[in-house]
Symmetry: C2
Subunit: 328 residues, 2 copies
């Protein structure tokens, strides 16, 4: 494997898709969307709304919007594209604030990690003349705030669009074109199927990671500094996603409750089965399970979602104290 | 962060530490130890024992030993250093085989991931004139077999030496010198403390990863190909360690049973607490827990065990289909 970077897939558009884009929330996601819009030329003007004073000051200083305001209702005036980039728990309040101010015919989208609950929260505030196109870019880092964003965040990532019954096909196509201009792959599915898929590939893994990191930090016999020192033995793989934004994740679990609890029930059953096999020394049960899980990993590598390199794709570090990736 | 590789830490020794090293088992670990011994000049002669015919043929072809034999008892004749590099479940049988053939004064070591059970299994076969120095290099990849090994496997990794009451200090120092010559950092602790530490940093994470990957592969509503397609949303982090060698991990869980079950009890309690908070909509409990776990991640980054780079240290890939690292 070489160190060459992949060819960039984002593109500069010949003419803007939108006259004025309004982004509600300028954290990691909102500030990245602003930067990606500017880089691709997808909107002639970008206005950002950010209620947090410190974040708003940062956003003004960083200059990735043409204007930054405190009020969502003010930002959306005359905007033909509005994207809500806030924790999903804030959707109802934001809908109530911006709903009456939306321009006729505007496309309203979002980047929320849960779709069913967000659509339900926004629905009362979406007038008939608004084109509602919910979306979820599967992208992020464990950092937060306007200075954490970057235009490349969406490059080579999936964006899942989950049209509602009222989403006009032309508006769906425009939102898809926007994300493709950011360098993303676009997929489409129903909101409820989306919520089940992300419960598996994202929400349950995050919940488990948050749990195990908490368990490991509260032991008496093994110190926290030992856990950190030897974390490369497997534990470290869990810590990255357990460092994600607490508010965002609180909201995700509260709003995708049914799918997460259903899946958690299955996970617990499976875990108890392995636990019982360990307690009773049933080596065959363990061996069979551990063989089965290898197949999924092979699929992920074959489809190019990860590399087979023994270092797990980690780049060599100039700091000799940084360990590469072991697994036992 | 640059792409420069760290300065190598392994070193070529002025004179061999041992006249003849015998390695029992030539899989990933054994074949890597052989290569690292040869590169560092730590032994004048290297003999490998491998009972599996296909693996033995591979090892002969690859040439990382001076001689490859089928029998451990034959390999250890006149060896002043013997290292057992086999799954921990095989320790008792290997001890019975090689014990009577060990040369007087030989240093007997191993690379097993569990120390208490291995020491107990080997003890009856370790004569008084043998210097027993158990060790555990925290290094590995998810691949297996003689062709999977490489000398750099131990570079910048920890090797934990767990002396028993009978381990002569000079022999411990010699084993430490060997691992330092491979480029490893060396730490020392009691076997029982070692087993608790690795239960936290390695065994529980692997068990959880094996479980969640199994759960995700057995769903009805979300297909396996969807899980693979969107795995970069968090799930992928778990799949690497769930692809590790099934026999090795079966043995680890069966031999470190007490520490793993004790820890699993705590993990389950913590998970049920979060599950209950989700079910009853207790956002504060979730938020508090998710904030707490960020501190551990910060510690890992500060101590250089991982990087803070948003791409999780992944190197850029020439294949545009390979996604970088998102987290939601």
């Amino acid at each position: 494997m070489t160190d060459a970077a992949p060819a960039p897939r984002w593109r500069r558009l010949d003419k803007p898709l939108f006259e004025k884009a309004a982004l509600i929330g300028l954290g990691l996601l909102g500030s990245s969307v602003a930067r990606a819009i500017r880089r691709s030329g997808a909107a002639a003007t970008i206005v950002g709304a950010e209620p947090n004073d410190a974040h708003r000051a940062d956003a003004e200083k960083l200059g990735f919007c043409d204007a930054v305001v405190a009020s969502g209702a003010e930002a959306v005036i005359d905007a033909d594209f509005v994207c809500i980039c806030a924790p999903v728990g804030a959707a109802a309040a934001i809908g109530a604030e911006i709903g009456p101010a939306l321009a006729p015919g505007a496309i309203l989208s979002d980047v929320g990690s849960v779709k069913g609950a967000v659509i339900k929260a926004l629905a009362p505030h979406v007038r008939e003349d608004i084109c509602f196109v919910p979306a979820h870019p599967i992208a992020g880092t464990e950092r937060s705030g306007p200075d954490a964003g970057f235009a490349e965040l969406f490059e080579n990532r999936w964006c899942i669009i989950t049209p509602t019954e009222g989403s006009p096909p032309e508006a769906v196509a425009k939102v898809a074109a926007l994300w493709r201009a950011f360098g993303s792959d676009v997929d489409e599915m129903t909101p409820s199927h989306h919520d089940r898929v992300v419960a598996v590939v994202s929400h349950l893994p995050h919940l488990i990671a948050y749990t195990i990191v908490g368990t490991a930090s509260d032991l008496e016999e093994v110190t926290q500094s030992e856990v950190i020192k030897f974390s490369a033995a497997g534990f470290r793989d869990f810590t990255r996603i357990a460092a994600s934004d607490p508010v965002m994740w609180r909201d995700i679990f509260l709003t995708n409750k049914e799918a997460v609890l259903e899946l958690l029930g299955r996970f617990t059953e499976d875990l108890v089965r392995l636990q019982r096999a360990i307690r009773w020394g049933e080596g065959d049960t363990l061996h069979e399970h551990f063989t089965h899980t290898r197949a999924i990993r092979r699929g992920i590598i074959e489809q190019g979602q990860d590399t087979a390199a023994p270092d797990f794709g980690r780049r060599a570090s100039p700091d000799p104290a940084i360990k590469a990736e072991p697994d036992e």
